[in-house]
Amino acid sequence: MSRSRALAPVVAFVVLAVVVAVLPSFVSAFRAQQLAYVAIYLVALLGLNILTGYTGQISLGHGAFMAIGGYTTAILMTDHGVKDVWTIPLAGLVAGIVGFLFGIPALRLSGLYLALATFAVAVSMPAVIKRFEGFTGGGGGINLFGVPELTASLTPVTVLGRELTFNDWIYYLCWTIALVGYVVAWLLVRGRTGRAFRAVRDSESAAQSAGVSLASYKTLAFGVSAAYAGVAGSLFAIATTFVNPDTFPVALSILLLVGVVVGGLGSLAGLIAGAVFIQFLPIWSQEVSKSPGAPAVVSGVVLIALMFVLPMGFAGLVDRLRALTKR
């Protein structure tokens, strides 16, 4: 590999980081808030792609892991007086442990059955949250803004000579974590672990005979992936300042899978496109039709169309264009 090709991803990443850093100075606070959600989805998609795109294990239940992260943050803040930013790693840890434990039975389920089991988890999650009312606040949810002294965004911070508004603060918080998460995911999938993940995805029998332990790598993928989702859920709770059972519906889990497919299974850079897609799709589809059903129709049709023309998603398109220009 030539030096210039090895450097290209690093240069691209630095450009991205600079764009992310200066962008709030050029867009409205409202837009900055929308872009913060792009970062949150990006974190969740990075995790889901490690599991689904790289390791080949379908999850239709990542919204449930986000819920675990979101509720960890909410409960730590309101019941235990932990400052919001410190709950983020803890939310990742709790969700990661649950994901790791869920990975143990999930080991024995392949393909379709795993999709089915995780889907059932996503569907049951709101019912479980509502049932354990004393712990989760039940259907009414938990308001995170009830304790202002624990909300880091209320302390004035200055970045690039501007004092941050609440939206800007959320934006920088989410994007910092997303970019760090991106680098961590990149380091993970490019090395030995990533190779083992891909081996499991491409052929379990071949991976096993080459000495890759299916049990350890599948549970590892589940744990890492759920930890990402937990962090994303925590950020989601902090950004919306509120959690209730409907904050993390089944539709969210499905939407995350849509995002990964749109971005490209087994690609990290494409996920940015996937995250933009799931955040802005409802807004774009309002242009076509005002009905609340419109976003679902558009994303469903896009999903099916992608499977026809571009099973590798946005990243596949980039690869194809690159192949064309090389010729």
Binding site: L116, A117, V123, R131, L303, F308
Partner: protein, 294 residues
């Protein structure tokens, strides 16, 4: 005791609705090796068609019921030909994603066409109860069980005693050899999808009078149907029926007599059934153990 029996009959009624949707899942899994995540939404769509015919166009219940079944059959077969068949090559993930896309698109389309409003759907059966051996049983429950059992018998006759049923079984079990003896495999699989859509439509139309019709009518029912299909063995039609009825009665009894579960935790209980069966005996009660070839 009378109260207990009443709960059992009510459980059988909801269980037969699960059974019918589970049977749809099993038919498709046997034919194309796919779990159709859009099965519930397809059923919801069918139910809306029936609702429109009876409420907006003044049709009688049974003609509307029959017309809906025909439309569903054609729709199901068309879905297979149009979007499933071209995506069958390659990894399972691809078809799963197509069915999830279909789930989203149909759910949105229902909201787009009929709005998200909750609709009351008339029942073809009277809601009063009759007394059998001291147990008050609602006629609606008996009717629901009857319709599903009749459907199961018709399907069984179709698969066991007709040429086309034989061809469908051959196409599902061994497509390559079926093709050699002149079975048009792809069309047989489409037929399977059509029949599955019919079964889904029946479960939707039977569920709507008591659950009310809205775009998410079948979301929970789909999980119960998954649980029923897995419990009975995902490749066994008999298993789907037995699994559905067992689950219906079991969930109803647990929901009534176990305070901790109540009405709220039935869905997580179904999830638990799915997980436990898949871990302990993945082939279910009636399924055959799968042998993986390397």
């Amino acid at each position: 005791m009378a109260d207990f029996m009443q709960q059992v009959v009510a459980g059988l009624a909801s269980g037969s609705i699960y059974a019918s949707l589970a049977l749809a899942l099993v038919l498709i899994h046997r034919a194309t090796g796919v779990i159709n995540f859009a099965q519930g939404e397809m059923a919801t769509f069918s139910t809306y068609i029936a609702w429109t015919l009876t409420t907006n166009h003044g049709w009688n219940y049974w003609p509307a019921f029959a017309a809906t079944l025909v439309v569903s059959f054609v729709g199901g077969a068309a879905i297979h030909q149009g979007i499933i068949r071209p995506n069958e090559k390659g990894s399972v993930l691809r078809v799963v994603i197509v069915t999830i896309g279909l789930l989203l698109a149909l759910n949105g389309l229902v909201t787009l066409i009929w709005s998200g409003e909750v609709r009351a759907v008339p029942s073809p059966f009277p809601t009063r109860t009759i007394e059998i051996a001291g147990v008050a049983i609602s006629i609606q429950d008996i009717g629901t069980i009857g319709v599903v059992l009749a459907t199961v018998v018709v399907l069984w006759l179709l698969f066991q005693y007709t040429r086309i049923g034989l061809a469908m079984r051959a196409a599902a079990v061994n497509p390559a050899e079926a093709r050699l003896v002149g079975v048009r495999v792809a069309w047989m699989l489409s037929l399977g999808w059509g029949l599955a859509a019919v079964l889904g439509a029946i479960s939707g139309m039977l569920a709507a009078p008591s659950l009310f019709l809205d775009p998410n009518l079948m979301a929970a029912l789909l999980i119960y149907a998954f649980a029923a299909a897995v419990l009975g063995g995902i490749d066994s039609p008999l298993g789907a029926v037995v699994g559905g009825l067992t689950l219906g009665v079991g969930l109803n009894l647990i929901g009534t007599y176990v305070d901790f579960v109540g009405a709220d935790l039935r869905l997580p209980v179904a999830l638990l059934v799915i997980l436990v069966v898949l871990l302990v005996k993945p082939s279910g009660i009636f399924g055959k153990t799968e042998v993986k070839r390397v």
